[in-house]
């Protein structure tokens, strides 16, 4: 029993990291109806930036801030330079462009920073936490981080005029533009925010699995599963989905399939959600007028 509790708790911790990346995916999906396959690789690159900043002598927390800011700016740049051109393109073309970014950024990470595994320190320090039993300080820190991100996101989307404009852009870009909302810039801003949230996920994963150019590929698959489970158009669904997936992964990994099948488990969840619950837990069923 104690083991089940322990696995569940650490599942929540790892799940909150999946939730983070899933939120990033959903933020972009909501505004553009496209899935950003390059989200994980963009995040990995930001984690390398943090490590580079530490190497320059910055304290870890400041390096993390630098990395998140870097992600924010580079996310906006990528939207302006590349993604912008594919807004009216077909889904296929868009995903091909994302795959190009995916392997491009992946090889850039490898080219600049090398392909070897690098140890990455946790912002929350090593060792166990004094607050929650069974969990390390890093795991507690991950959960708290996601709660903070969810809170900030809620405040931003529901209680600021910029957030309102952003929801309008997601809801109905044409009438938002007619009401004077700068839709183009909000889309750019959305990519920036998503990239920043993704970078946080990478900073939380890196201390657990070591940093290498392919670090986020496995996490991305779990984030896909989380976003689908929660409903692709719901940020809160992404958080719920992420945490559920983390718990399922831990329990199933220990008792059902074994740890060597974790990626296959993600595949199984994705296919199951598509079959049984295509709009996700908190997603909206949409009917389109044609």
């Amino acid at each position: 029993m104690q083991q089940v509790i322990q696995l569940t708790l650490s599942g929540i911790a790892i799940g909150s990291i999946y939730a983070c990346l899933a939120v990033a995916l959903v933020l972009i999906y909501k505004t553009t109806h496209h899935v950003n396959f390059a989200q994980g690789e963009m995040a990995t690159f930001s984690a390398y930036v943090a490590l580079f900043a530490v190497g320059l002598g910055l304290p870890l927390w400041l390096a993390a801030v630098v990395a998140v800011l870097f992600a924010f700016v580079s996310g906006m740049v990528i939207e302006r330079v590349v993604i912008r051109r594919f807004h009216s393109a077909s889904a296929t073309t868009f995903v091909v462009a994302c795959i190009a970014l995916f392997i491009g950024i992946n090889s850039l990470s490898g080219w600049i920073f090398g392909h070897d595994l690098k140890a990455f320190p946790s912002i929350f320090g090593a060792g166990t936490s004094s607050v929650v039993p069974f969990l390390s300080a890093h795991e507690v820190g991950s959960i708290v981080t996601v709660v903070v991100i969810a809170g900030l996101l809620y405040l931003f989307l529901s209680h600021t005029s910029l957030g309102l404009a952003m929801r309008a852009t997601a809801d109905n870009p044409v009438s938002a533009r007619l009401s004077g909302v700068p839709v183009d810039w909000l889309l750019t801003l959305g990519w920036g925010i998503a990239a920043a949230v993704g970078a946080v996920a990478a900073l939380l994963v890196a201390p657990i699995v070591f940093l290498d150019p392919n670090m986020m590929i496995g996490v991305l698959i779990y984030a896909f599963a989380a976003a689908l489970l929660g409903g692709l158009d719901s940020p809160w669904g992404a958080i719920v989905g992420g945490i559920l997936i983390g718990v399922i992964e831990n329990l199933a990994g220990a008792y059902v399939v074994g740890n060597d099948m974790k990626l296959s488990l993600a595949l199984l969840i994705i296919v199951a959600v598509l079959m049984l619950l295509p709009q996700g837990l908190l997603g909206r069923k949409t009917a389109t007028r044609v």
């Binding site: 296929t92 073309t93 995903v95 091909v96 795959i99 970014l101 392997i103 296959s264």
Partner: protein
Amino acid sequence: MQTPNSSSRRIGALLIVAAIALLVALPMLVKGFFLFQITMVLCMALAVMGLNIVVGYGGQLSLGHGAVFAIGAYVAAVGMDSFALHWLPAVVIAGLVCLAFGVLFGWPSLRLKGHHLALATFALALAMPQILKHRSIETWTGGVQGVMVFNSPVPDWLPLSREVFVFYLVLAVVLIAFFGTAALFRSRMGRAIIAVKENQIAAASMGVNVTRTKLATFALSCLLTGLAGALYTLITEYVSPDSFDLMKSILLLVAVMVGGAGTILGPLVGAVFIQFVPNLAEQVSQSATSAIYAGFLLIMVFFMPTGVVGFVRGLLIRLRARR
């Protein structure tokens, strides 16, 4: 779509006949490693033809055709190794298994609109090496080690070496698939596939069953790519799980885009590209190959959405108009 006039059609037919004649004579001209490379190009071209059906004609995106290729390769390898099958039934069974897999895997994601096939196949591509290595099927798949296939596919009455026989076998399958797909897209079924890509609602109102057509497209493409996988086993006599990773799937996608999505000749051009570019690029850096692929993908979607073949075709049409 331009309808070429009869003289240019005749030139095209002549070129194709010349190319086939050259390929048939090839084993007499080249030997050894170069012949092996050409055989691999043809094999990859078959796999790319499969993906092209789904991406170029069907308008759906599969990021997991490397995994389908792996299933074809493994079914053939296990059939010949563990069950001592003759190569012909092994290859046929591999193709049929991939066809069935296409139906089963495509069904949950293809009845939904949007990115779901891309998402699900992306996960499939990532999971495939793990699945192939799994303990429960290790007696057949050999786990991390993979499967070695020792058998001589050459019939006794043929005075051909193994390499040359496999080359002609692959060439024959590629030619059948090439003319088969060309005929398909002139038939009712092929027109329905393109109609679904262009406008689902319009297609549905014309009496096309959209979901079934999408499913048939995906299954057919899995059949071709699976057959390519089975032929790959015959060519290399060895399969290992880690050679079928995500990059394999992306490679096939690169080939479709570079050659020209939705063109009949595109897969051949794309296959040449992915076979020879890595050899050149790896002299620069380990990361160079994927960086080049990334660059080419972006160039293609930005400037040449119909790939090299579409670009050349457009150029020819413009030249003729000027004359």
